[in-house]
């Protein structure tokens, strides 16, 4: 549980032939079991690309990736990870319960087993009374909780999250940050969390990986030594601000060539 590498990334480079863009260059990164690691950086730094490479949704041009000791493609086929996108991507013809059950259906679980697990997951994301609702009847934050429940329903060891709270308002986002932490503590899964919010990254993570753009590289890694469980007060602790500053300076030092609006997006 403590030190086995869940994700091992070695010298990964990704070039997109269109426009000859180097999205990722020589990325080395290792995630151990139970970590919650944020990838942060300005738009175009390749953080989402890196997440998709781990999920075998994009193939790297060079380099190697292993997930749970297997190739990324084998890990995907084995259902080793669940994913949450910025949009909830719920199927609007399915109820909340059926959306959560979608991956279970494809794994061939029988009806009773599915029902039991869906009930558990609804409990986990605190949507007990909404099983029979359709997605469009829920708020954005509730929809994203359904997406999280769906991603965790088959108990993957790894959870990939691509700016999952990016489209939500600040209040909802902070509440969901707390909920994500409590889910993470209950499930013990390893989480890769892509974000462009410094405070979100620092608040959630065990480590923050700061990336810089063109080409996408790792500018530095900040260990977040704030104690868990983290609460509303954590955001007011002096150490929290120190770490936020540390991450921001790392972003600045490698980001002299940032456009003003990118700079702004990082505030």
């Amino acid at each position: 549980m403590s030190v086995s590498p869940v994700v091992h990334i070695e010298r990964v480079t990704k070039t997109f032939p269109q426009g000859n863009v180097t999205a990722l260059q020589d990325i080395d990164l290792e995630l151990t079991s139970g970590e919650l690691v944020s990838l942060i950086g300005p738009s175009g730094c390749g953080k989402s690309t890196l997440l998709r490479v781990i999920g075998d949704l994009i193939q790297p041009t060079r380099g190697s990736i292993t997930v749970n000791g297997k190739s990324a493609s084998q890990a995907r086929k084995d259902g080793d990870y669940g994913i949450v996108f910025q949009d909830p991507v719920l199927f609007d013809w399915r109820t909340v319960a059926k959306n959560i059950a979608l991956p279970l259906e494809m794994l061939g679980w029988d009806r009773n087993r599915r029902r039991a697990r869906v009930a558990e997951m609804l409990q986990l994301v605190e949507l007990g009374g909404f099983a029979e609702h359709h997605p469009w009847q829920l708020s954005g934050g509730m929809q994203q909780r359904v997406a999280i429940a769906r991603a965790l329903s088959f108990e993957p060891s790894l959870l990939l999250m691509d700016e999952p709270f990016g489209a939500l308002d600040e209040m909802t986002r902070e509440r969901l940050n707390l909920e994500l932490l409590s889910i993470w503590e209950k499930t013990g899964s390893t989480v890769v969390f892509v974000t462009h919010s410094i405070s979100e990254a620092v608040f959630l993570s065990t480590r923050v990986v700061v990336m810089s753009p063109r080409p996408g590289r790792i500018a530095g890694v900040v260990d977040i030594d704030l104690p868990y469980p983290r609460t509303v007060e954590t955001r007011e602790a002096p150490r929290f601000f120190e770490l936020v500053t540390e991450v921001r300076e790392l972003l600045r030092s490698r980001g002299e060539h940032l456009l003003p609006e990118e700079e702004e997006a990082l505030q």
């Binding site: 999920g55 949704l57 995907r76 259902g79 199927f91 609007d92 013809w93 399915r94 494809m106």
Partner: protein, 270 residues
């Protein structure tokens, strides 16, 4: 709904009254032949069209049942064929490029020109109970499959790219992607095509009856009453009313089925 019908009937009579009382002849002369009274048409339902025959309404309802059978078979066959064409084409760019122009082209050939050939080709192959009306159903199929094929293809392609990516993370097979994502996503498109196809199948069945010389359906009745139009126009009008009612009934059945089957976010309902 009912109010609109009453207003339309009122307008018919008002138009008649203005044109006959002023003697206007543009765009056509209005008289009991060109525009029979509403009540003349209504009364025609209750009277026999020919001596020693049942009331017109009874005769027409029998013919309607016959035409409805042809149209329903054509609609069902066309919907299935159209849907399958959509499913096959969405999986192959090559087939799409190769076949789509011909599928579109098929609809530019006048149905009246194809109908006699269908009768000649199809009818001899049909088993006894399908003789005659079976060929007409095939003609209705010809009009029905097209909108369903095109819209099914569009609908299957309407699946969200992120949803497709999500299915990829589950290592979902083509079959799962089709069944769990593409088909449900396509249903609003498919049903808007089925609504078109429902009325088209009735038109196809009526037109199909003309070259086959079948007297059992509404097409035969229309040809027949058309020949006596100058004497008894109300009988053709009565037949038209019934034919329209049949088309509307088909349409409504599809709408009801759609309501029962399709559960989508308000913004995704076509």
């Amino acid at each position: 709904m009912l109010a609109v019908v009453v207003v339309l009937l009122g307008l018919w009579e008002l138009y008649r009254w203005i044109w006959t009382s002023t003697g206007w002849t543009w765009p056509f002369v209005v008289n009991d032949t060109s525009m029979p009274h509403i009540w003349t048409i209504a009364k025609a339902f209750g009277q026999p069209a020919q001596v020693n025959q049942a009331a017109l309404i009874t005769v027409l309802l029998h013919k309607t049942a016959f035409t409805a059978k042809e149209a329903a078979a054509g609609f069902g066959l066309g919907a299935v064929i159209g849907f399958l064409i959509g499913v096959v084409l969405v999986h192959s760019r090559l087939l799409q490029r190769g076949f789509l122009p011909y599928i579109v082209g098929s609809q530019t050939v006048p149905i009246l020109a194809i109908a006699p050939m269908v009768v000649v080709w199809v009818n001899p192959k049909l088993p006894g109970p399908l003789q005659g009306w079976g060929a007409v159903a095939v003609i209705a199929t010809y009009l029905t499959f097209f909108p369903v094929a095109i819209n099914t293809l569009r609908g299957l392609r309407s699946a969200d790219t992120q949803a497709l990516e999500l299915m990829r993370t589950y290592a979902a097979s083509r079959w799962w992607v089709l069944w769990k994502l593409r088909v449900p996503a396509s249903l609003p498109y498919v049903f808007s095509a089925l609504r078109l196809a429902a009325t088209a199948s009735v038109v196809g069945a009526i037109i199909g009856e003309l070259p086959t010389g079948l007297q059992d359906g509404l097409g035969g009745a229309i040809i027949n009453f058309n020949q006596y139009y100058s004497i008894e126009p109300q009988e053709l009008w009565a037949t038209n009313v019934i034919a329209a009612a049949l088309g509307i009934a088909f349409f409504l059945i599809v709408v009801l089925a759609e309501r029962a089957i399709v559960r989508r976010a308000p913004e995704n309902v076509a």
